[in-house]
Assembly symmetry: C2
Homo-oligomer: 221 residues x 2
DNA sequence: GATACCAATTTGGGATACCAATTTGGTATC
DNA sequence: GATACCAAATTGGTATCCCAAATTGGTATC
């Protein structure tokens, strides 16, 4: 694999994994030495990550994007639009058997599953569901939105019950899709997204002292 | 302005203005000499234009994205999702007086207005309408979708009547927004987008021989 | 002690040199 | 004439160098 893709992938993982905190400043030369690459692939990676919203310009330099509560709320509205549209397309498909694969994905999580796995699968549920629609633009929109949400969702203080509730909502959505009931599926998906947003924003808001203490920049709504 | 932004802007204009045809191959060194810049800003521009969908990788090199009829149809579905969502947000606003500015924009076009201006304003109508929603993600989605559609819309064979019909639909949408009738506005916007797509795809399909003759790559649906 | 100011360092933007892989054009062979 | 093959040119990927601007740290002045 090329250096360019390497740096991009590794840097993205460090940002999404919060090894580099939200709000932290980045210098091209630090990245260069950190990954043993020269500045050309580093710059390519930075440009890509900027379009993903993971980093942003800070005057002349670069900053890891802060957690922005206002942005999280806007993303929820955006998600509702694109995910519901994708879901309706999927419900209109002749062959909706692919939902079984997604259901199996959900069911692969149990009490012994590490938290990272729940986190990843919780996002992949939405991404893969959007992929089923067959619309590349809706799919990419959902995938990009989930990428932007990833860090905030990871920071979210989640109790066991909240995860169980989310999974139950996921299952209910799939059931409606399998039945071909687009309106019901859309209703449940909308409610799920709005509920997720509310819990997410509330959690981050309540814990913003803790986050600041860890050096994470959190921008209020 | 920096070279990087300069190259990006000029190259984008050449692609959107069809000075470089869809499907044409690009080499970094040609761009370099064409704009008198070195490869560093050229590469930055290429990476940005790739994310906009205006160019795409072609093995090791770069190609101006072909006109893709299947993509145009998918974009219409995407647009319907995000534009309608944005429109509903706008209809829910207390102060919807900003639609007057958009209406004035439409009204600035008359028989003496050059075709480029009609083209640009026809896109800006949708972009500015989405901006009113206040949701940055919906706005960017619409703006990016219109950018991707730009070349195809320019190639579209449009008669006077089609333009008049489009403008009438624009006005009707604004009227519904001003009245705060979200359902009516959404219905009209959906119909407008679907109708535009049908006319666009049909036009390009009918003229695909002419387009090929001009050296433009057109990928069938 | 606060502040204005200057030198040294750092940083991103740009240019260029080098390399490996691919493409290209021609040539020799059958 | 077709084809296999090789050398030269081209091209994108990478590393490195230079530069202007911005930041920084210390110092002299009040």
């Amino acid at each position: 694999m090329s250096q360019m893709q390497n740096v991009e992938r590794q840097l993205r993982e460090m940002i999404l994994g919060l090894e580099i905190g939200p709000g932290e400043r980045l210098t091209e030369r630090w990245i260069e030495s950190r990954f043993g690459a020269s500045r050309t692939p580093v710059r390519a990676a930075l440009l890509r990550l900027e379009t993903e919203g993971l980093i942003c310009r800070d005057g002349r330099g670069w900053t890891v994007s802060p957690i922005n509560l206002a942005e999280l709320e806007q993303i929820a509205v955006y998600r509702e639009a694109v995910e519901v549209a994708a879901l309706r397309l999927t419900c209109a498909l002749e062959d909706r058997s692919a939902v079984d694969v997604i259901e199996a994905m959900l069911d692969s999580c149990d009490a012994a599953t590490p938290r990272e796995e729940w986190h990843r699968i919780g996002m992949d549920f939405h991404i893969e569901l959007a992929r089923l629609s067959g619309n590349e633009f809706l799919f990419r929109a959902v995938r990009d939105a989930m990428t932007r949400l990833s860090r905030a969702r990871w920071l979210e203080i989640r109790d066991e019950a909240a995860l169980g509730r989310a999974w139950a909502e996921h299952h209910a959505i799939l059931a409606a899709v399998r039945a071909g009931d687009a309106d019901e599926a859309a209703r449940r998906l909308s409610a799920h997204i709005v509920g997720s947003r509310d819990r997410l924003v509330a959690s981050l808001h309540n814990d913003r002292r803790g986050l600041r203490a860890r050096g994470f920049a959190v921008v209020a709504a």
